[in-house]
């Protein structure tokens, strides 16, 4: 689903965010991306989203090399990737329903299908009863679940999350992670960036560890115990 081949990302100020990173995430696989803040997790996700382009190396998503994707094709590519952000990126000038409907509106889904699919997505994250509310009135955990509903409403084959539990307490965090696992169970490939090692280890999934831009570990948490200095 995702393939990085000797990817290096240097920014304009010559700082190196990623250095010679290679890995592959299989279709239907779920993995965590860990490392201290500034280790390059966000940059890696941005490369997949084509919010950034690599300085060298190749990135493939869904079997498609991204290096030759012209700017105008980027939106079509993003429609196949659901993304969840730490700050959830919800819009407070519209209802929960309209927030979740955005990806469908963008792709021109007929209005009658929109309602059905938005409710299905809200049902999955357990917030169907709040569709008419403004997200500003919901709790942090609920807001993040709306962000997840928006990410999956399009039924993307790939789901990315950048520190989705960054602002949540441990109980809510575990709930959010369980949601991701549920989506993975029905075939969605999932890649979650998180610095919360104990939470990630509890999930028992594959773990990619970044350290100062280099991929220093790749394996399940039991294999990883020594690698991540912890």
């Amino acid at each position: 689903m995702i393939e990085f081949e000797r990817v290096t990302k240097r920014y304009a100020d010559h700082s190196v965010a990623l250095h010679d990173v290679s890995f592959a995430l299989e279709r239907g696989e779920m993995a965590f991306l860990t490392g201290h803040s500034g280790a390059g997790k966000s940059t890696l996700l941005k490369l997949i989203m084509l919010m950034e382009r690599p300085s060298s190396g190749r990135v493939q998503v869904g079997g498609q090399p991204l290096d030759r994707t012209p700017r105008r094709r980027i939106p079509y590519l993003r429609r196949h990737i659901g993304v969840v952000f730490q700050d959830h990126q919800l819009l407070f000038d519209r209802t929960v329903f309209d927030n979740v409907a955005m990806p469908l509106e963008v792709t021109g889904v007929p209005p009658r299908d929109v309602a059905r699919r938005v409710r299905a997505a809200l049902d999955k994250v357990g917030l169907l009863s709040k569709e008419r509310m403004n997200p500003v009135r919901l709790s942090g955990g609920e807001q993040q679940r709306i962000g997840i509903a928006r990410a999956v409403v399009n039924k993307p084959p790939l789901l990315l999350a950048d520190e989705p539990t960054g602002n949540l307490d441990p109980a809510l965090s575990a709930e959010i992670m369980d949601l991701f696992r549920e989506f993975n169970r029905v075939g969605v490939s999932v890649l979650v960036a998180s610095h919360d090692i104990s939470l990630v280890q509890a999930m028992g999934c594959r773990m990619l560890t970044l350290s100062e831009g280099r991929l220093t570990g790749d394996g399940s948490h039991s294999q990883m115990r020594g690698a991540y200095g912890g």
């Binding site: 105008r72 963008v106 084959p157």
Partner: protein, 332 residues
């Protein structure tokens, strides 16, 4: 995975990984048009939700448009006045007091024989007094005059090919040299000057119109720039979930179009009000000149052109703003 949505055809709804529209092209088109309608309505609603600022922007546009439109209409009025007379420039020849009616008849015959002149009409002094009495409204006051102060007058209509400034000038000089002639008045002169002034004004108004059109584009561009700033988050999210440039631009282009429409309609209204206010003194003026001219009004077609042009300006302004500011907003 990243298949082109346009190629995805008709897959069964609800299938995993098939995030593309699975509808036939007809349904795609309908949903595209529905989105256009929704965006257009949403843009109009946003303007309605801030009525005061919308109205102010609309008025700025309206004033910028109404000014050249009103000037153009006034020019058109002046031009209809002059064009009615243009073709039949006539020369009034006032004869000396001592010339009697028979001599005047003789002069008429004489000038009628000239090749440059197609027609000569004699207005006898009594006739002239009679029509003056009728038209001036001085009626009874004129009875106090001991005798008729008006001379006999010949009204000459030059041949069409002599209807030209220098030829007319020569003709006037020849007429003036006649011993029985006191004064020659060429109606054309002031018309020519009026036409020349109108030509100058026409260029001035065109230049002003272009400048103010540019002002409308800039005003709308600036309004759209502010709208883009205030909806920055929404733009970022739309781009993150796969909104195309066209999708993101659409609401702002509609906003520009609606501002243009509002400005155009208000401009029409301003011109109508101004001309209604002007029409009373203008009618009185026309009346005093014994003329039937009135202010030119905007025809239905003119109004459509005005509003259409205004919408075009609005769209253009929005497009410029969108090109400059929207494309720069990228999710980070």
């Amino acid at each position: 995975m990243a298949a082109d949505p346009r190629h995805s055809g008709t897959q069964s709804a609800g299938r995993r990984g098939a995030a593309r529209p699975r509808s036939p092209w007809r349904e795609q088109l309908e949903s595209y048009l529905a989105h256009h309608r929704r965006t257009a309505r949403d843009a109009a609603m946003r303007m309605r939700d801030a009525p005061l600022s919308s109205l102010m922007t609309g008025l700025v546009i309206a004033i910028a448009l109404a000014l050249p439109v009103a000037l153009m209409l006034m020019l058109a009025t002046v031009q209809t006045v002059s064009s009615g007379w243009d073709e039949a420039a006539r020369i009034n020849v006032y004869l000396a007091d001592e010339v009697d009616l028979t001599q005047a008849e003789g002069l008429r015959e004489h000038w009628a024989g000239e090749s440059a002149i197609s027609e000569v009409e004699l207005i006898a002094r009594d006739e002239a007094l009679g029509s003056f009495r009728e038209r001036s409204g001085l009626g009874e006051a004129l009875d106090f005059l001991e005798d008729n102060p008006l001379p006999h007058t010949l009204v000459l209509t030059p041949e069409a090919r002599y209807q030209e400034a220098s030829a007319l000038q020569r003709l006037v000089e020849r007429l003036e040299s006649d011993e029985y002639v006191v004064r020659v008045q060429l109606d054309l002169e002031w018309l020519q000057r009026l036409n020349a002034i109108a030509d100058v004004l026409e260029r001035g108004v065109t230049a002003l119109g272009l400048l103010l059109g540019l002002a409308v584009v800039l005003v709308i561009g600036n309004t759209i720039r502010l709208a883009i700033e205030s909806r920055r988050r929404e733009i970022v999210v739309a781009k993150l979930v796969g909104g195309t440039e066209a999708f993101v631009r659409r609401p702002f282009l509609y906003t520009g179009l609606w501002y243009g429409a509002l400005g155009g309609v208000l401009a029409w209204w301003l011109v109508e009000v101004a001309f209604w206010w002007l029409s009373v003194p203008v009618d009185r003026l026309a009346d005093l000149y014994g003329s039937a001219f009135g202010l030119q009004r905007l025809s239905f077609g003119d109004v459509l052109t005005l509003v259409g042009a205004s919408m075009l300006f609005g769209w253009l302004g929005a497009w410029l703003a969108v090109k400059r500011h929207l494309d720069a907003i990228e999710p980070r």
